[in-house]
Amino acid sequence: MNLAFLDPATLVLVVPAAAAAILVLLPDYWIAARLNVLAAFFTFISALGLFFMVRPDGSGILLVDDLNVVFVVLNTFVGFTTSIFSAGYIAHELEIGRLTPVYLRFYHAMYQLLMFAMNLALTANVTGLMWVAIELATLTTVLMVGIYRTHEALEAAWKYFILGSVGIALALFGTILVYMAAQPVVGEGLDAMRWTVLLPHAAEFDPKLLNVAFVFLLMGYGTKVGLAPLHAWLPDAHAEGPTPISAVLSGLLLNVALYAVLRFKILLAANGAAIAPGPLLVAMGLTSLVFAAFMLYRRRDIKRMFAYSSIEHMGIIAFAFGMGGPLANFAGLLHMTMHSLTKSAIFFTVGHITRIKGTQKIADIQGLTESHPALGWTLVLGVAAIAGLPPLGIFMSEFLVVSSTFSREPLLAIPLVFGLIVSVGALFLRLNGLAFGAPTGSTAPNRMGYIPIFAHFALVLGAGLYLPAPLVLWFQHVAVLLGQG
């Protein structure tokens, strides 16, 4: 019976929580950085165990199903590689005195706490618990965004805190409304907040109440996804925080918020009389895509540019899930996975670049392929991947999104393709200056490793060339779970 404590679903929560508790007490940063990697690695291994475990029956507070296993495994994998990158990055920050050992202690504890919060949000079976977890994740990232304590970092953190909290508040109101809708049908208490109880009864819920609830939930969690027009916090938070945090924000936290939206979307789709949640997601997704595509042209800060690219890609993903149906859902899942891997690898590369050049201004970072061939070409590869060039993974997922849209709603495909082309143009315009031409700034060699970056790119390239059959089957199954738009 005691072994129940050791099942993978519990471990993905216990390992980071325990690591956070130890790291907060550990004064030596060198050991702390290694412990951080080790804890992230064990969390990832536990997450892999989710594939093999006996699923909880849904009466507890944790839920493991085909949908969230995908998210948890992706989450812990990128969390693990980011912790490797972070160890090198943070050592340098300490060297140049941007961070002090006390702040590092805090940083590592917060990193594990964030991993805990995200895993809890993904595995929670209770809507209220999921909300608490997302709130905790917001809090930890706010603190990490502000960790440099410069004017810009504080402003970014403050903006993120205010907008994130308002979003979280709206999401809680939506959660309460869902409880109100469920309570007459399934009775009072915890049952009216369990996904496993809500879903089979969703058809009997009051549709009007569900509609209003979904609007609040979409606004609330949509703020955290970074969908336009609720995205204002995102570029600042990405640009001013430490780069490992930018990678985690873009690659993981946005996905966690999206997962919350998807869960409620499934609930709404199960109620025939409620509004279809799909068109709302499609509208917000397209707005984000087109808006971010144009905003990409005016960027002068390299991290901010990739932050806008994240808005663009979250828009594509929301669009795909909004379209619904097996093919679009499949494309959305694939795109989400590919975007997480690619974008975090890009932020790792950008972290190396800004560290060498000592600036984030695009104008001061020129001709990287001349001065740092390895780094420069890695950036070229990253931008090619994120822009969706074949044969990389994002090409495949974008192709699937576009082709499924053409076959069902040709009119919607026009703004979609337009946004994609505009953003590709913007990315390559900026890349041209960054990677080619006469080098500017420091030419100090890069001393940090490429292992996390190449691990990600290898996966993205591999997925672009060949998707293993079990993965395709798994994604197809999840796509069916996600249902119509």
């Binding site: 209770v126 209220g128 618990l129 909300w131 608490v132 709130e135 905790l136 809090l139 706010v142 603190l143 502000g146 304590r149 004017h151 810009e152 504080l154 402003e155 953190a157 403050w158 805190f161 205010i162 909290s165 308002v166 979280i168 508040a169 709206l170 809680l172 109101f173 959660t175 309460i176 409304l177 409880y179 109100m180 309570q183 007459p184 009072e188 208490g189 915890l190 009216a192 907040m193 009051d206 009007k208 109440l209 509609n211 209003v212 600042d236 640009a239 001013e240 960027r299 002068r300 800060d301 901010r304």
Partner: protein, 220 residues
């Protein structure tokens, strides 16, 4: 009894909305903080009454937490922040008081129309509570957007939280998870505010958010 229960909770929730309006037109910092404390006390009374009529002792815990945190500790802490940071004692608003009040009335009307319409089937007690709670939340949002100071934005945010707690307690039998979460969020707000104000004071002469704006990365 049913009618008394209904009327009392209606009065308490309604007074919360009225206090939100008072928050909306305050021009002096200390008055704003005092009225926020009153806002919290009205919330505590509303929670206590809900706990009594729903026969839910767990709500008394929520009420105690809300009282200690929001009616006592946070107002005192904010007063000290204002004094020690030398924050300007009068509040500059982004738009005038008149238009803000009109917008507030509009928001209350909106929340009534929306909530009363969609909750036909629910029990009338929860219905009214929910409509008034949404009014408090929307008014809190209005306070946040119409004020320029960090302190006033924090008060706006906490009045939103008050509205959320009102909604959560009005929903009958809402499990403890949410009460914990709400208490948790109070704590969170408190810690974050403390840290933020501490940091902002270290770095800036003012906690006016517009002062931070000047340093925005890409403004040319």
């Amino acid at each position: 009894m049913a009618s008394l229960a209904f009327d009392t909770s209606h009065v308490l929730a309604g007074s919360l909305v009225l206090l939100s309006f008072l928050l909306l037109y305050q021009v002096r910092m200390f008055a704003l903080i005092n009225i926020f404390a009153l806002h919290a006390i009205a919330l505590v009374l509303a929670i206590l009454w809900q706990g009594y009529i729903q026969n839910a002792p767990s709500l008394y815990v929520t009420a105690t937490i809300a009282f200690v945190m929001k009616a006592v500790i946070i107002p005192i802490a904010l007063r000290r922040v204002v004094i020690r940071l030398g924050v300007q004692r009068t509040i500059e608003t982004v738009v005038g008081i008149g238009p803000t009040m009109l917008a507030g009335i509009g928001l209350v009307a909106l929340s009534m129309v929306v909530m009363l319409n969609v909750t036909m089937a629910s029990n009338p007690l929860a219905r009214e509570d929910l409509a008034l709670a949404l009014s408090v939340i929307l008014l809190g949002l209005l306070i946040m957007v119409s004020r320029r100071y960090a302190v006033t934005q924090v008060i706006g945010f906490m009045s939103i939280e008050n509205g959320l707690i009102l909604a959560a307690t009005g929903a009958k039998g809402m499990p403890l998870v949410v009460e914990i979460s709400v208490a948790f969020s109070v704590l969170v707000a408190f810690i974050v505010i403390g840290i933020f104000l501490f940091r902002i004071r270290e770095r800036f002469d003012t906690v006016d958010v517009a002062a931070l704006d000047r340093f925005q990365g890409e403004r040319r």
